[in-house]
Symmetry: C2
Amino acid sequence: MYFTQTFIPTLREVPSDAVIASHRLMFRGGMIRKLANGLFAYLPLGLRALRKVERIIREEMDAIGALEIKPTVVVPGELWKESGRWDSMGEAMLRAENRTGNDLVVSPTAEEAVTALVRDELSSYRQLPLTLYQINTKYRDEIRPRYGVMRAREFVMKDAYSFHAGQASLDAAYNAMGAAYRRIFKRCGLSVLPVKADSGAMGGNSSEEFMIESEIGDNTLLLCESCGYAANVEKAVCAHDFDPPPSLEEAKTRSLSSPALEKVSTPGVKNIDQLCAFFKTDAKKFIKTLIYRMAAMEGGAGRGAFVAAAIRGDLAVNEAKLAAALKASEAVLASEAEVERITGAPLGFAGVAGLTGIPLIADTSVTAMTDGITGALADGFHYAHAAYGRDFTPHLIADLRTAKAGDRCARCGGALYEKKGNELGHIFKLGDKYTRSMKARYLDESGQSRTPLMGTYGIGLDRTLASVVEEHHDGDGIIWPLEVAPYQVILIPVKYEGALKAAADGLASALEQAGVEVLVDDREERPGVKFKDADLLGIPYRVVVGDKTLSLDPPALEVKRRGEKGCRMVELDKAPALLAELVKA
Amino acid sequence: MYFTQTFIPTLREVPSDAVIASHRLMFRGGMIRKLANGLFAYLPLGLRALRKVERIIREEMDAIGALEIKPTVVVPGELWKESGRWDSMGEAMLRAENRTGNDLVVSPTAEEAVTALVRDELSSYRQLPLTLYQINTKYRDEIRPRYGVMRAREFVMKDAYSFHAGQASLDAAYNAMGAAYRRIFKRCGLSVLPVKADSGAMGGNSSEEFMIESEIGDNTLLLCESCGYAANVEKAVCAHDFDPPPSLEEAKTRSLSSPALEKVSTPGVKNIDQLCAFFKTDAKKFIKTLIYRMAAMEGGAGRGAFVAAAIRGDLAVNEAKLAAALKASEAVLASEAEVERITGAPLGFAGVAGLTGIPLIADTSVTAMTDGITGALADGFHYAHAAYGRDFTPHLIADLRTAKAGDRCARCGGALYEKKGNELGHIFKLGDKYTRSMKARYLDESGQSRTPLMGTYGIGLDRTLASVVEEHHDGDGIIWPLEVAPYQVILIPVKYEGALKAAADGLASALEQAGVEVLVDDREERPGVKFKDADLLGIPYRVVVGDKTLSLDPPALEVKRRGEKGCRMVELDKAPALLAELVKA
């Protein structure tokens, strides 16, 4: 391809909203342009790079036996009502009503559409497992789209959905997908961090996020400096004081040596700091008790039910963990009035001893407490010497604590540290969440009707591409890894005329013949401008056709790898074969 | 690919709404499934065929230097307000409002988005010509979507847009695009009928539709049996009584020999039939005069202006031609009250003689009339002996008549006949319609700011694919042309076990090695079922691996071309090379 025959409007300036390297460089390199907030068009060069990412993903999906399909982008709202997500997806989902009054959705994801497709075709266990995928347009109405194609409203997603007759089959597909994701990101030249993730509104349990470290990441990760443990802070665990927690019997025995529960007058003492001052002790001695309203608890205490959550005074409840422990979609702190109604005392005097009429869920930290201070469920009173197993017995014990930098790793005891990350991919075991609500069924080997299990697996292509630029650039521009580069070779005739033109044209066609993707900079620009643009565009191999080297005997060219310092001389005749070999490496 | 590893849910039954062959066969062949009215999902086999069409189109676009880009599918409503089509596109355009209150459009086409992109980058004539294209999702809210993917609401379109510094450049791009379209349809195995078309709401003049004959076509075409003339009835011309029309001077001279205009009392005589009976003559003697309200006349008499259209009594006014002649978007018959207000007489007495206060536009047929009967603009009166040039002088003479089967061809005099057709592609010269309204400018060689000219070129991929099936099938199923076939070879082991399995597996991998796309029917089905499905799916070459032919010396296979009668024996060892040669042919 010749530069003057394509459309690469490179720029020196960057728009003021382009604050990250990928946005800046893709914009300056004439790869993307903004149509509106969060809506970006790919120009020819950017699209070539995006297609490379697409090809890598398609190859890896095909290699694990996933089958490509193409549902529509606009799907009937009815399907979302069936699954229940018409309500729960909120404003991020773009809805429209057509001329006949039908509700339509511009797909933000496609669990519903694919489950509907499979449901209608599925009859026997013999058809399972089945993994379908698409690489298609998605739209999510981000509140604050920014950072170019890193966080846009419309984007391209590879989304796959697997259907299974049993857990072992789902596990196998999930693992194969995870391995494929690792290969995909490796081929893209990306250092991803696979982390355990909170599955949020997606439901289900096992899941893994493929994160890329980024200053502007919208996820906080906790990593262990010793063993490589990595988790989204929403789901990160850390070492406990007791691990495993003591049994109720052990706790009871242990509490015999504690002083008896004692009601203490604490007028006006409401928060942990005031308590520490009053009792002249530290926060670790307190049992903090918080009242939560749980949203949409499935198979639990019902929608809108309240629970009390207890945790050691120096720790914080992780609401995502609390929701997950109760299989709820969300945990929201109760209002002051609700707290008063439920506990019989004003805010600040809730406690674990004597609490009735509401389920108590305790963090494991509380199971270590034999002599704690807790609210006495009465205005102006606390209990001292509260002991787990004697003075209170939670309905459920779970890991509720928010891990933080400096906590010890649950796996190896190493120190945890924090990083910001962007999610490029996500794999989930959904279980029967959608197949059950949407009534997909199959007959098993004994002729019994069953609900298939399901997995869901996504990768954002635009974000992956932007992350490649984030990881591979320098002060001058992009440094594309070979597999993602829009062209493999940029050929720069110092002047595009006479013998230089002839040599450049001949070489270009020889390279194309040899299967090398080559961009010829045939513009009437000074060599300096061409070199600057070549650095900006980041094509892996730069080949300069100049008078001096051409007049050598034998005639030669200067070949330089983008991102490396020196360059080397290559004989003109040998260049096509050599470059073909280099780009295949 | 092995049949049991992919997802091809073939069916014996067809849904009742599948009335055309492509819908029926693509559905039965497990290629498409309906998600909702007008929304179809492609399953793996159908998607493979669609991708073949996509590849052909991409290759031909790239070959003429068109550059692929990817604007978004969801675009800002603002762009459509700029161009004026926010109003004129009507209910076919799917609109949505996002969480921040912005109007969004699910693209039905992309003149606006691409003009906006180019506008921002364009500065100099040196950047022109520029042809950009995309192959992307489109949505049009068809009132009655039907016939499977032939007329769906969501579809894939290749849409290209060219920008030019002058008419010659636009003409050249338009011609190159037309030639590319002919190659595309030829490679798809389609017999398209390129016809001149009414450009409808798209504006501009020169345009060509690529039609495919179809009983369920939504266009009526008129074709000449002798010279190959073909046109959409909306724009078809036919031979006139005078061609070219006489000059006004000639007409005046000619009218000297006609009797003088005479006012005749015609009480209660209003329509042509009554007039024929009253005057004892035939419809050709009358000058029919109709009052129209013109919508959005650009550079004409203004929005909502009225015109009088005159035509010989036996002919019908083609409203699309009338609108085009006046550069209006639409011509609508005036109401009875409007007619009375404008002509001063009740409906039925409008006429050309003495008409004032409204522009008169006459069909060429009227220019031949030297002794016509026309309304006298008074209740119960007509004029006899009206002569063009003497008794009335139109403001504009144009071809307004609706051509019909049986009319004579304007080009050669042959008889015209009618066909129904579906439009697969469309190429237009838009002129400056969008570039002007959206303020795209460039500096010409002398530094003057100018508005570029533009062309627009579309092909519907789904409809093209469905048309391939319409043209290539028989009672048993599809007969894919090689270039569009989802696989090139279907390999059927009579039983998939033992030596037959080994032979089939070996052959499959040898074929894949040789670059042949092969589907192996490894299902546990009777050979009869496999053969029936092979016919249904329409893979071009069927290779049967059976005991009998394998036990020959040397071992052989049965190779049959779908759609042909006999089959031939091919030696097992020679099959891969032979088939590779056949599919490349």
